[in-house]
């Protein structure tokens, strides 16, 4: 007697965030096992990077993670700087902070829409995707591209901010803060939202630590771990911000953490713009690209992405090409160690919003 049946969530399914497949086995409407099936976005980044010069890899790395590419650039730049022993200029640090936070804010805005979409509220999805576009406009102004910026380089940033950009940025921050009130009214204060997400897919503090969760999952479980605080990079050590935490560890807490992180990012941008030195170099000069040899060594550089700790393990053998680059994406752990366990016992109706609340980003897993 076959009690269970199997369903594929993805790759061609709206309930999956990206090109990824989740095979779930259900009994009635309850999930009894979930197996992730990655590899639909596998492009062999790590292999490709071994075959390219450091300068060429700049074009490759943002494509590792699509919704928030700047973290890759930052981690890559930091790893190279670490190996070469380069200290970047003060202004570049602030610009990096601003860019990273802007990307984070854009990512959370995007996430919000996706999350509301899985719960059936398409209005917020429409609003927030539209609002995210204004952040992309700002990126387009500093580097010419909306999605893949290639702006943060080893040694600083590619070029100085265009004149008047800070004002536009502050305008965006102000606009987003106003919009956040609308978002709250339609979604975060919505009774139905609480009804659907409270107590769903709980990751307790102990579980989160044991399973190696980072980012919003850990914060929602009550642990204030954040690379920006613990191991400050860019200009975070000069800035004043708090790490929000909640204790429930359920889907609702994770959503609220992200909503507060969005507000946090906007505040950090405001501060950074205020504190940033108005003049100064933004790029420590690097060698000629073809003679750009990085000293032999191994290092691990990490940044805080919207999903958690994002790191590059870089090995150099003293030539112009990296010997080995290993990428650590937060989703890797979140999907296979956490989501597969958390989904068991949940309802089919909740599967897609749990996946989005854990913020699984497939390109980061597949690379």
């Amino acid at each position: 007697m076959s009690k269970s049946y199997e369903l594929f969530i993805g790759p061609n399914h709206p309930g999956i965030p990206g090109n990824f497949s989740l095979k779930i086995e259900l009994e009635g409407d309850t999930v009894i096992s979930a197996k992730g099936d990655p590899g639909y976005l596998h492009r062999a980044f790590e292999k490709a990077m071994e075959g390219r010069y450091y300068i060429q890899n700049l074009a490759l790395i943002p494509r590792i993670c699509v919704p928030e590419p700047d973290i890759n650039e930052a981690a890559y730049a930091m790893a190279v700087e670490d190996l070469m022993g380069v200290e970047i200029p003060e202004r570049a640090k602030y610009i990096r902070t601003i860019v990273l936070e802007l990307a984070r804010a854009a990512n959370y805005t995007f996430w919000m829409g996706g999350f509301a979409g899985t719960l059936g509220l398409y209005t917020l999805a429409q609003w927030s995707f539209g609002d995210r576009d204004y952040a992309l406009d700002l990126f387009a102004e500093i580097c010419g591209a909306r999605v893949y910026h290639m702006y943060i380089w080893p040694g600083g940033v590619r070029r100085d901010l265009p004149p008047g950009w800070e004002d536009k940025l502050l305008g965006y921050v102000k606009y987003m803060k106003e919009r956040l009130i609308d978002y709250d009214n339609i979604f975060f204060k919505n009774v139905m939202f609480k009804y659907r997400t409270k107590g769903i897919a709980v990751v307790t503090k102990e579980q989160a630590i044991e399973w190696g969760a980072t980012g919003p999952i850990l914060k929602a479980a009550g642990v204030a771990q954040d690379v920006r605080k613990d191991d400050p990079y860019a200009a975070y050590e000069y800035l004043d911000f708090e790490i929000p935490t909640l204790t429930d560890g359920d889907s609702w807490s994770r959503a609220m953490i992200r909503r507060w992180e969005l507000e946090n990012s906007l505040n950090i941008i405001e501060q950074a713009v205020k504190k940033m030195p108005k003049k100064g170099p933004v790029w420590e000069k690097m060698p000629n690209p073809l003679k750009w040899y990085v000293p032999e060594g191994e290092t691990y550089a990490k940044v805080e992405s919207a999903r958690g700790e994002h790191g590059f393990y870089m090995v150099s053998d003293g030539t112009g090409k990296p010997y080995r680059v290993a990428v650590r994406g937060a989703s890797h752990t979140h999907m296979f160690t956490i989501a597969e366990k958390v989904l068991i016992g949940q309802r089919l109706a909740d599967v897609s919003h749990i996946l989005v609340s854990l913020d699984v980003c497939p390109p980061e897993i597949d690379r």
């Binding site: 709206p14 509301a116 429409q126 609003w127 089919l348 599967v351």
Partner: protein, 295 residues
Amino acid sequence: MVKMILIAIVAPLLAFSIGLSFMMIKRKVVARIQRRYGPTIIQPIFDIMKLLLKEDNISHGVIFSLGPIIAIAGSILSVFFIPIAGLNMLTGSGDLIALLYIMAIGSLGMALGAGDSANPNASIGISRALTLMFGYDLPLVIIVISVALQYHTTDLSAIVAAQANGHWALWSLPLSAIVGFVVTYGALGEHPFDIITAPHEVATGPMVEYGGKHLGFLMINHAFHLYVEIALFVDLFLGGASNIFIFYIKMFAVFFIMMMFDEVLPRFKIDDAVRFFWKWPTVVALISLIIVLVK
């Protein structure tokens, strides 16, 4: 006789065009709520025509193809039992109680067709649809009984006639009217009750394997369905109408209010939806029923 045949042809067309106009307006209004420009107003016509004109169609079996046909036949049948603007086409052949079951023919056909598509997504969708129907049927039945007792008849045209000159059931049975409004949401599968087709959960549920002309038929059926549900509400609580324009205006008013709530609510889980229907709408409807009984 000629008049009968004429009515028999005109009534479904009229119902279809009213339903279609609601579909058109809805897409535009929803777009505006979502801060978008929205499609051209006649976009649903393009969609339906395109689907009907697909060169290739697939079928999983006879029942799969019959599903949408039975759905449309059932919907057309129920159109005849709803008096519109003084036309009482077949209201003498079946009353309100019969209508409740006639309206189920289409759902049953749809359910059979979707079941034959051999896809668990479709099966889950149907399971949800039937469960939801069970959910909203309880308050629906109670308000139907209250209206029938209020006017001492189950004949819809008599109910409409009794509400002439502004003596709407909305005024005499306000609580039932509110419940009826909520139930209409459930019956139409609007947010927050769009559990049946929820794309993120079951990939459009029953429609998962339907494409081409089958899907076109389902869209046509949706137009009829919109019409039937809202027209029933108007006939029960807003006193029907003496001519088609007033009838349309009343229907539009109901639909417009529905759209306003539609786009700001996430959807229920199916068992929560049933619990919801069996809690407040049922209690309120019962209070209204007891008031009628005592009166």
